[in-house]
Symmetry: C2
Subunit: 540 residues, 2 copies
């Protein structure tokens, strides 16, 4: 049986973009809106049409595209002091944006009315009443967002309530209580929402911020006290410490508390939704992000691993599959041999890891980790190491040397060239290529050398390239770790390289990623005519 | 007046290291312990002496060092089934570690007793009783950590309570309730802790995990229900989604709820403690981390900025200074001119930003941000841009060209060389240098060229060097952004460079960082004899 419906209101596209380092193009916003719609979010706040041309362009694009399930919402403020609602550009822009739902915020804290708005309490109430009424009379579903509601209610409860009731009388469909500064604690949240439920007739929404690391708890407390809508963002992005993270709020409400947010099938898309939005917004997700992080169901301690292998409930509070995540066994210096054997099984390695072999592998792993390697995110490199240790690796090509040359000329133009020399089936192959930068040039030269012998490589692409500086105190002479994610016909894998030299580290990860694909495919070098491809070094 | 004392128990050095990607050397652990002691944490869990040689070495080092305020604690399990406590190596290792406090965990969930331990409920109870008694009789303060307590109490309350009472009878000084799988919700936490408070005489501690993004809320709920100790980690690192983040729990308890954790003076060290531990553990802190993140008191939306300039309480739930953080005004495409003027004031730029100039600067900023620059973390580069736009920049040197050469030879050795040509006071300077990698070689060649004219640069150091790949879909031909943090006699500043070429981006950030220092110091090139330093390009 389905539980009580809780409406999801996503403001990633508006409040989310107020986060430091977050910037979305119009097309980014369109992509995210389409994905949120597929996931089954009820309301998508697209932007503030009156505030900037990018948001205007977004609403225009969305008219062409349309949404299946979600209702697109435009954000705006109440009209300005001493101005009629119908004269206010920002409210007119909402009507012109073509949405059927408007979310307008008004001040519920007397301090803000006097110190930020510089007007009277009565005029602020008038602005709220008129603005809601204007949008309502123009046929829109109207949400009134009471900004700073909780601080306002604590400072002057009568005025804060008065503001809500003005919005209700003017025809607001929803009363949304905003914890704008994120300073409210869950026990206060619960008490206050219960009081507001008694005073208002319209359904209540909640809009928490995460300044105390309590936004998810506050959303839950508000729903338990009777709120029926949660406003937040994917991955909790937003101004300062962000908004409530819907990615955590949803499974808590639905899986743990039995409310209904989206269908169970759509809930399985939660992990991929979170990662998709992170990719579009170009942010790095914390590996330990609750529910959807790569580490959320990753077991590292030896005791944990052996217990999870017996019964997953011993160290997992929910089944990762419910939200589309997966269980992982980590191999690290903390691990016993049980982790390594479990890992070999997970990787479906065909050989059997003998106890004596795995002891040596654990030692080699420790040495490599000490040197800065990290196999937790580079399972293909780990596989190659396991193969090498077990004597199963067959070397299809040998790399002899490479050279990289880069010049920034007085006219500011830049040239990057790379030369690679390797041996394939006894033949020496020597190639040169240019690139956008030294790593790209090296990648191009290496492919030029190998693709003629291993045509499958032309379908392989480097999908992600990450550089991490280790020992940051060493600055420009510090070690760097390069992680590369590659794909080939839908399958993807990750490799790692470490060096004080970013080019060398990239080279290592690049060649590992090629070796891994060739091993997977059991490829053998095509027999080519003995031929040396030599290209002279460019003069400079 | 001081509120009720809440004891802080830090397990960064033990549970923290179970987090994915976390690895601490013995010296790292010593450094963190010393810093936690200075901050005034009550208990520092140093490790599990029976489980690995690194932890043994740590406890040995700590005997030499000693702590001022904190009590060092060793972690361990109860004795194994069918073994006397005095015969158990892991318990003996705790005694040998030289600590005065032992924390031992035992199973409180019947499922774990049968499925993980594979023994009887009675035997598990016996193991707990004997182990606590053994440590207690050997003169240690003993904490009993009831693993999986909340899941256990929900499944079989009588047995879970029985286990706690066995520990109490055996002489445990603290009963610590662990939410090991992190699946407990705050309202359950509160109810259960109230019930346990009634059933136990010894003080209660709480050990929450963050799998539901509710660990901080759970710690608060437990304290409000009567718990007197919170066990967590700095920045919330730990297995899967981590432990409760003490960095958030402490200000919530002390600043917002009036409990006493540390002195107000020490609380001002919270931000630097958080960043110090992140640096040692080599993890990147989320910019939006509550309370201590770089964005926690950063204002980006134009409305927020203008209100905060009038009254900081309008958009800040606490004063950032209380926890050692600071307010920041962000400049970005969302910002109006008010942000830029506020920024110029914050940076103490001597010139006045005229309205007309700042309009052009906003446009230039938007163009640069579109190209991938980010000034939020690179205020020195922003300053240089503002100076350039206002015509105040004086160019002390001109960079003409550079070349970088790198070779990986067949014997696997690597050479990196860089050549730099620049003009200083009309003189052409041409230098060459080697380095650990191409960026380091370039840094060395540039310094060789400039230091003779600007001796102050010999005291400048690059402190941090970060590489971020933008548009990760483009992989090896993607743009990268390089952020460099430099220091000079205690002052530090950050600069940014963007290019598809990691060397070029690094070069841009490096030269910006030098230009900034020279501007700050009002430096002028030393008049040197006209002299050309030319070094030929190495043959290859």
């Amino acid at each position: 049986m389905k539980g009580k419906k809780i409406y999801l209101y996503d403001t990633t596209l508006r409040d989310g973009t107020q986060g430091e380092g977050i910037s979305l193009s119009v097309e980014d916003k369109v992509k995210i809106a389409v994905r949120l719609d597929q996931f089954g979010v009820d309301y998508i706040e697209g932007g503030w049409p009156g505030s900037n041309p990018k948001d205007m362009a977004f609403f225009k694009r969305m008219k062409e595209i349309g949404l299946e399930h979600s209702r697109l919402t435009a954000f705006g403020s109440t009209c300005r002091p001493n101005l009629q609602a119908s004269q206010d550009d920002n409210l007119r822009a909402i009507l012109e944006s073509g949405v059927s739902v408007a979310s307008i915020f008004g001040k519920a804290w007397d301090l803000h009315v006097s110190d930020a708005l510089k007007t009277t309490l009565a005029e602020n109430r008038r602005m709220i009443y008129d603005s809601v009424k204007y949008l309502h009379e123009n046929g829109l579903e109207v949400m009134f967002l009471a900004e700073h509601f909780f601080d306002g209610y604590k400072a002057n409860p009568l005025y804060a309530l008065d503001v809500l009731q003005a919005a209700e009388k003017a025809g607001a469909d929803w009363i949304v209580l905003c914890d704008t500064n994120g300073g409210t604690l869950p026990h206060e949240m619960k008490e206050i929402v219960i009081q507001i439920k008694e005073a208002c007739r319209k359904p209540i929404g909640i809009h928490p911020h995460n300044d105390c690391e309590l936004a998810v708890a506050n959303a839950i407390a508000a729903v338990q006290a009777g709120a029926e809508q949660v406003q937040g963002t994917i991955n909790g992005i937003g101004e300062r410490c962000g908004n409530v993270n819907l990615v955590s709020a949803i499974p808590n409400l639905q899986v743990k508390l039995g409310y209904h947010c989206v269908s169970d099938d759509r809930l399985k898309q939660l992990t991929s939704l979170s990662r998709y939005v992170a990719e579009i917004a170009n942010i790095t997700l914390a590996v330990n992000q609750p529910f959807v992080g790569n580490s959320a169901f990753a077991h590292k301690g030896g005791i944990h691993v052996s217990a999870v292998m017996k019964n997953t409930a011993t160290y997992e509070h929910i089944e990762p599959e419910v939200i589309g995540n997966r269980r992982r066994i980590l191999v690290s210096e903390l691990s016993g041999q049980s982790n390594l054997v479990a890992k070999a099984e997970e990787l479906q390695l065909r050989f059997h890891v003998e106890k004596s072999v795995s002891k040596e592998v654990v030692q080699r792993l420790k040495d490599k980790e000490y040197a800065g390697y990290q196999y937790e995110g580079a399972e293909a490199s780990l596989t190659l190491m396991l193969l090498q240790e077990s004597g199963e690796e067959s070397e299809l090509f040998q790399l002899e040397s490479f050279k990289v040359f880069m010049e920034k000329k007085p006219d500011k133009s830049i040239v990057s060239e790379a030369m690679v020399k390797c041996k394939i089936s006894g033949q020496t192959v020597h190639t040169v290529a240019e690139g956008n930068g030294p790593v790209n040039a090296l990648d191009n030269a290496l492919r030029k050398a190998l693709e003629q012998h291993f045509p499958t490589l032309s379908h392989m692409h480097v999908k992600d390239y990450k550089v991490r500086v280790l020992d940051e105190n060493e600055a420009t002479s510090a070690k760097v770790r390069v992680l590369i994610e590659s794909t080939h016909q839908g399958e993807s894998w990750s490799t790692v390289g470490v060096s004080t030299n970013v080019i060398e580290a990239s080279w290592e990860a690049l060649t590992d990623s090629i070796r891994y694909l060739l091993w997977k495919q059991g490829a053998e070098a095509l027999e080519l005519e003995q031929e040396e491809v030599r290209v002279g070094i460019v003069n400079h």
